[in-house]
Amino acid sequence: MIDINPQRTLVRYNVKVEQEMTPEEVAEKLFPVDEAIREVARAVFEGDEDEVVESLQNAIDKGKDPLSLINDALMVGMEIVSTLYDGNMLYLPDVIISAQAMIEGIEFCKERSGQEHEYKGKIVSYVVEGDIHDIGKKIVTVLLKAKGYEVIDLGKDVPVEEVIAAVKRENPIMLTGTALMTTTMSAFKDVNSRLLDSDINVPVVCGGGAVTQDFVSQYDLGLYCEEAADVPKIADAILKGFDVERLRKEFHKH
C-alpha cells in the first residue's frame, strides 16, 4: 500500500485556524461580575439543568426577582454560549444542551414569579406535509428558543391547512418550514398562496435538503435559509423592521 505526506496534498484548516484558548477560558472572561448571576450563567454554559435551578434558587434567596433573572442571568449565559458558537469555539450539541438547561430555568422562574415571561417574539415552526425528516426543525427550534423567542412547534408532516390556521391563531413574526424532498417542497407554494389570499404578510423561512434559493425566491413571502444558525438572526432582523425584500438582500447568499 502506498503512502504519502498529506501536507503536500491537503490542508486541515480546522487544525490550522484553531483558537489558542479553550471555550471554558473564554467563557470565564465573559460571565457577569455579580456572583449570584454569574453562577446561573455558568450553569447555563455548562448545560447542567439541576445546577441552573439550584443557582436560580440561590439568586432568588439573595433577593433577585425571579422574572428578571430570565433576561439578566439565563439569557446572559445563553448569549455567551451563542457568542462562542458564532465564534467557532463551541459545537451545536453544546448549544442544544445549554438551551435546554436555559428553558428549564425559564420555566422555573415563571413558576416562582407566578407571571408570564415576555418573549422577544413568536415564531411558528413546521416540517412540510409528507415529510417526516425533522432534525433540521429541531435544531432551528432550539436555536430560536436560545435567543429568547417563543416557538410554536407544529411538528412534522404538517398539512397546509394546519399551518395556515396556526399562523392566523398565533400571529407570529415569521414562519419556518423545512423539507427534504423535491416532491414535498411544493407545499411551500401552497402556504405562500394561502397566506397572501388572507392578506397575511409573514415571512416564510424555508430550508432543508432539496430546497434551493432559486426555488424559494419564486414565492413572494419566501426567504431561503441555508444555515440553521441564521434563523435567529433573521428573526432579529424582522424585529428591526426588515421586510422580505430586505431580508433577501441580507440573507440570500447566492
Partner: protein, 461 residues
C-alpha cells in the same frame, strides 16, 4: 426469522479488496454483472417538484429521465449502466404508481438493450413510509403497504430492491444532538439492526419469489445524518470524531440485511459499505465526489476504492448547459468507471485503488476509518462477536476510535476539540456493560421515560 450471522471475514486480507471485483458477484437486469471484473455507473435522480402532482406526470417524468440517461450512455459509448429510482413518497404509498413507473422505465431499458446491447439494470429504492407524524410505526399498516409496494415493483420491472430504512431514527436524532454515545449505540446498533433484520427477511422473500435481487440497505437516516450535520472542516455542528462512532456502528446495522438474505449490491449512500464488503464479499455501490449535487463530501475519491457500482446522490431532473442533469451526472460517473475499468484491464487496479484511497485518507477522521485497511479492521472487530448485535456494535465503535487515536500519532491531524471528543467517546464506550440485555433494558427505560414518541413495540419489545 432465518438469520445467518457473520462470524468471520469473507476476505482473508484487505489487500485483496479492490474495485470492480467482489467475491460473490450479482447477475441482474439485461446481461449486467456487478462485482464481476468491471464497474458500472449507477445514476440516481429525483423528479421535479411539479411532477408529483399526479401519477401520469410522474410516469412521464421517469420516462424522460430513463431515455435521457440511456441516450447519453450510447452517445458516448459506455457499455453498462444502472438506473436507481429512489421512490418519492407517493410511489410507495400507492404501490401501483411505483409498479407502473418501474414497468415504464424497464420497457425503455429493454428497447435500448435490444437495439444497442447496452448492459443495464433498474434498482428501486422504496421510500420508508413507516414514519408516522407522531411516532414511527414500523410494524403496523404502513409496513404492509411497504411490502405490497416491494411486491409490485418486483413483479413489474425492478431488478434490485433496496430501502433506506428508518429503524431507530427518532432515538438517534435525539442522541446525536446531545452527544449521547450510549443513545447512538442503542439507536443504530440495537434498534436499527432489529428493524433491518425484520424488514429484510420479508424483502428477501419477495425478491426470491419474483426472481429479482434483494440488494441491500443503508444507514442514511442515521450515520449519514451525523455526517451531514458534521459538515465540512470548519463547521461546528458536530465533532467529526463523533460522526465516526455513528459510521462504525452503522456497519453491523446494515450488515443485518445480508444476514437476512440480501446479496448486494449495497446501496450507494451506505458509506459503511467497504466494511460490509470486507465481511461479506458482496458487491457494493458507492457515492463520493459525484454526490456533490446533493451534499458535500470529505472522502470523494476514497470511497471509490472498492466500489462495484459508482454512483451520485439524488439529483433533481432539470436542464444544464450540457444536457439534462441526469445526462451530465451519468456521463461523469461513467467516465470515472471507464478510468477504473481501464486500470483493471491494464493490471493497475490496486495501484489506482491506493491512489484514490490515499488522496483522502488524512482529510478527515471519517475518511480515515473508511480507508480499506481500516475498514477491514473494523470488520474484524464486528465479526469477533458477530452473534451478539450489541457487542459487535460496541466493538466497531471502539475500534474506530482506536484507529483514529493511532492515526493521530502519525499523519492524521486532529484539532484539540476532536481529540477531546474522541477521548470522551472512548472513555464512555469502555465504561459500557458487556451484557446486551442489561444495556438494552437500561436504554429502553431511559428512552421510554424521556421520549414520548419512542415505541418499543416497533422493535418487538
Amino acid at each position: 426469522m432465518d438469520v445467518k450471522r457473520y462470524t468471520k471475514m469473507a476476505y482473508d486480507d484487505f489487500e485483496d479488496m479492490v474495485f470492480g471485483h467482489s467475491l460473490y458477484p450479482v447477475s441482474t437486469g439485461f446481461d449486467l454483472e456487478i462485482g464481476a471484473g468491471y464497474t458500472s455507473a449507477e445514476v440516481n435522480y429525483a423528479p421535479r417538484p411539479s411532477s408529483g402532482e399526479s401519477k401520469e406526470k410522474l410516469v412521464a417524468e421517469y420516462e424522460k429521465i430513463t431515455t435521457d440517461i440511456l441516450q447519453r450512455m450510447v452517445q458516448v459509448g459506455f457499455p453498462s449502466v444502472v438506473l436507481e429510482t429512489e421512490h418519492v413518497l407517493q410511489m410507495t404509498t400507492n404501490p401501483e404508481w411505483g409498479a407502473e413507473i418501474a414497468h415504464a422505465q424497464k420497457t425503455i431499458m429493454e428497447e435500448y438493450y435490444d437495439e444497442y446491447g447496452i448492459k443495464c439494470a433498474l434498482r428501486n429504492t422504496l421510500a420508508d413510509i413507516r414514519g408516522g407524524r407522531e411516532s414511527l410505526d414500523l410494524r403496523g399498516d404502513p409496513y404492509d403497504v411497504l411490502m405490497e409496494s416491494f411486491e409490485q415493483v418486483a413483479s413489474s420491472g425492478a431488478d434490485m430492491l433496496s430501502i433506506e430504512s428508518l429503524g431507530g431514527k427518532s432515538v438517534f436524532d435525539t442522541a446525536i444532538l446531545h452527544n449521547d454515545i450510549p443513545g447512538i449505540l442503542f439507536s443504530i446498533g440495537i434498534l436499527g439492526t432489529l428493524d433491518v433484520e425484520f424488514i429484510w427477511s420479508e424483502i428477501s422473500r419477495i425478491a426470491k419469489k419474483n426472481n429479482v435481487i434483494a440488494a441491500g440497505d443503508t444507514d442514511c437516516s442515521q450515520a449519514n445524518t451525523a455526517m451531514f450535520i458534521a459538515g465540512g472542516l470548519l463547521d461546528r455542528k458536530l465533532a467529526h470524531t463523533m460522526a465516526i462512532v455513528a459510521r462504525a456502528i452503522s456497519a453491523p446495522r446494515s450488515l443485518a440485511a445480508y444476514e437476512a438474505g440480501a446479496v448486494g449490491p449495497g446501496k450507494d449512500c451506505g458509506y459503511e459499505n467497504t466494511i460490509i464488503k470486507a465481511i461479506t464479499g458482496v458487491p457494493i455501490s458507492q457515492e463520493g465526489k459525484a454526490s456533490t449535487c446533493a451534499h458535500s463530501d470529505l472522502m470523494g475519491n476514497l470511497v471509490m476504492q472498492c466500489c462495484d457500482l459508482w454512483s451520485n446522490e439524488s439529483v433533481e431532473y432539470h436542464g444544464e448547459f450540457g444536457g439534462t442533469s441526469v445526462q451530465c451526472w451519468g456521463e461523469t460517473l461513467s467516465y470515472d468507471c471507464s478510468m477504473l475499468n481501464t486500470a483493471i484491464e491494464a493490471g493497475y487496479a490496486k495501484v489506482f485503488r491506493d491512489v484514490l484511497m490515499v488522496s483522502d485518507r488524512y482529510r478527515d477522521p471519517q475518511s480515515f476509518i473508511l480507508a480499506f485497511d481500516n475498514a477491514y479492521r473494523i470488520g474484524e472487530a464486528i465479526v469477533k462477536d458477530g452473534n451478539d448485535i450489541y457487542l459487535r456494535s460496541k466493538n466497531a465503535a471502539i475500534e474506530a476510535c482506536d484507529i483514529v487515536e493511532r492515526g493521530s500519532k502519525g499523519q492524521l491531524e486532529l484539532s484539540k476539540f476532536e481529540k477531546a471528543s474522541l477521548a470522551n467517546a472512548t472513555k464512555i464506550l469502555h465504561s459500557l456493560t458487556d451484557e446486551k440485555d442489561v444495556f438494552i433494558e437500561e436504554q429502553m427505560d431511559k428512552f421510554k421515560t424521556e421520549m414520548d414518541e419512542f415505541r418499543p413495540e416497533n422493535y418487538g419489545y
